[in-house]
Symmetry: C2
């Protein structure tokens, strides 16, 4: 998306590490796919390219979602909350798989009386997804 000026970036409040949490929602199903983090550069890149790039806290580098798996996320919209410290992205999820376990959503564990229960099927074996690694 081409935005006329860059003042929109000034509304964002980052945490002490320069990061903001990002909720990613499938725009078709309304399901929450994942929660990840962005810094200013990855947010700008995501909006410019309309392909979602997060900041990987574990690897400490830009992480274009799907760069290894092919399960990229195409940006549909960006929303900011009232405090300016959380983002909601609506995306088109290629392959219908956001999780590295091969599931649609990363939130596949649900609490019931006996503890955490897996409530989503594996759609594709991770060994097949990451076969080039």
């Amino acid at each position: 998306m081409q935005i006329k000026d860059r003042t929109w970036l000034e509304k964002i409040k980052y945490n002490q590490d320069g990061l903001i949490p990002v909720i990613t929602q499938d725009e078709e199903t309304g399901r929450i796919l994942m929660l990840a983090w962005m810094n200013e550069k990855t947010l700008k890149k995501t909006v410019d390219e309309e392909i979602v790039t997060y900041w990987s806290r574990s690897r400490r580098k830009n992480w274009t979602k799907g760069e290894e798996s092919g399960h990229i996320q195409t940006l549909v919209s960006v929303q900011l909350d009232c405090d300016g410290d959380a983002l909601l992205l609506k995306v088109k999820q290629r392959g219908g798989i956001a999780c590295h376990t091969g599931r649609n959503s990363c939130f596949y564990s649900e609490l019931d009386k006996s503890g955490w229960k897996t409530v989503e099927p594996v759609l594709k074996n991770p060994k097949e997804i990451y076969q080039n690694e």
Copy 2:
């Protein structure tokens, strides 16, 4: 919800401040209402009581959503992500208003070519919501 043992709490990974980000989704509409934070105590309290209590980072105290406004959130389900460091709650939102601005969702600003644009109406004047303060 009564859970037989407490081992489910051990799966949760908190940040350096002892907090975990919580996405709150309206279980009827699928809309994202807000992103807030919990510590172990407020998570346990929320699951026990089935009424959502967050940890307010600004006020540094437990914050039962709706304690002032009446717009409480009744817990429907709790989901944990694959890394164990983010939660998704599905809730029933009393009054259909989660935001302190009187809107349904806190994510009422959407990015377009000219910057952030308010895309949600105020359903109730905050002065009426918080008239007892």
